[in-house]
């Protein structure tokens, strides 16, 4: 007859294993999402006759904090054409701003959410 202590210990051990790899697992999903967003931003700007030269400036950077993964995606002003990014997306004092900065995120959101849900289901199966 069990008093549940062994099961509780096993659960705690499994939880520790899942927690130990959680940030790495989430990071892999987010990195893939960041890559997809970057690719779509590059494809969008490549279709612009005036701004296609800045496509190569669109990159992503990872920003890690304890227990957190974060990606920043967009034109890098240090790269060729990157300084045009704010004009492409936000225009000037006389208007413009034909680029839709939210579109690639809208495209990617369902894919990333689906991948995160699959990850959560996998974790649940390991407990």
């Amino acid at each position: 007859m069990s008093d549940g202590t062994a099961e509780l210990r096993a659960f705690a051990t499994n939880l520790g294993k899942v927690a130990g790899s959680a940030v790495k697992d989430v990071d892999a999903v987010l990195k893939k999402g960041a890559q997809n967003i970057k690719n779509e931003m590059q494809a969008d700007v490549s279709g612009s006759p005036h701004f296609k030269g800045m496509a190569g400036s669109i990159t992503y950077d990872s920003h890690y904090l304890p227990g957190r993964a974060r990606y920043v995606i967009g034109p890098d002003k240090g790269r060729r054409g990157g300084a045009l990014g704010n004009i492409y997306y936000f225009g000037t004092s006389r208007g413009g701003g034909s680029g839709d900065i939210d579109k690639p995120l809208r495209s990617e959101e369902p894919r990333t959410m689906s991948a995160l849900e699959a990850l959560a289901e996998r974790w649940a199966g390991q407990l």
Binding site: Y89, T92, S93, G95, G97
Partner: protein, 132 residues
Amino acid sequence: MTGDALAAGFEALITGVTVYKDKVPSTPSFPYVFVVTNFPTVAERSNARSVLARVLKSRTQVVGLTGASVRIVAQKLTDALEGKRPDVPGWVLGSIESVANEQPMLPDEDVTINGQHPLYQPFDWILTGSQV
């Protein structure tokens, strides 16, 4: 009850500042607000695919010769729009909300007025509503 009436109703709320709609004249009066408002696109559909709600998106560029003038006009613009609910016949509307774009105030280096570049900052707005 058209999308154009909705856009006009939205833009009519911006008062007390110089407003240019759709195009900035060759010699504008500073400071000013330049506004471009889209046709309201579908935001929500029923299970039967009929349109339940539309969202109006508008971008305003606040332009001035000094940072202070941009900030003062931006405050007037915010007071005129944020949380307001325009009254447009044929529409049931929510409140206007600003959308953060994290874009800083920048000099427009393609324009020179008396040897200086005007400063500008974009502000994005959304308004969700349904046609009745």
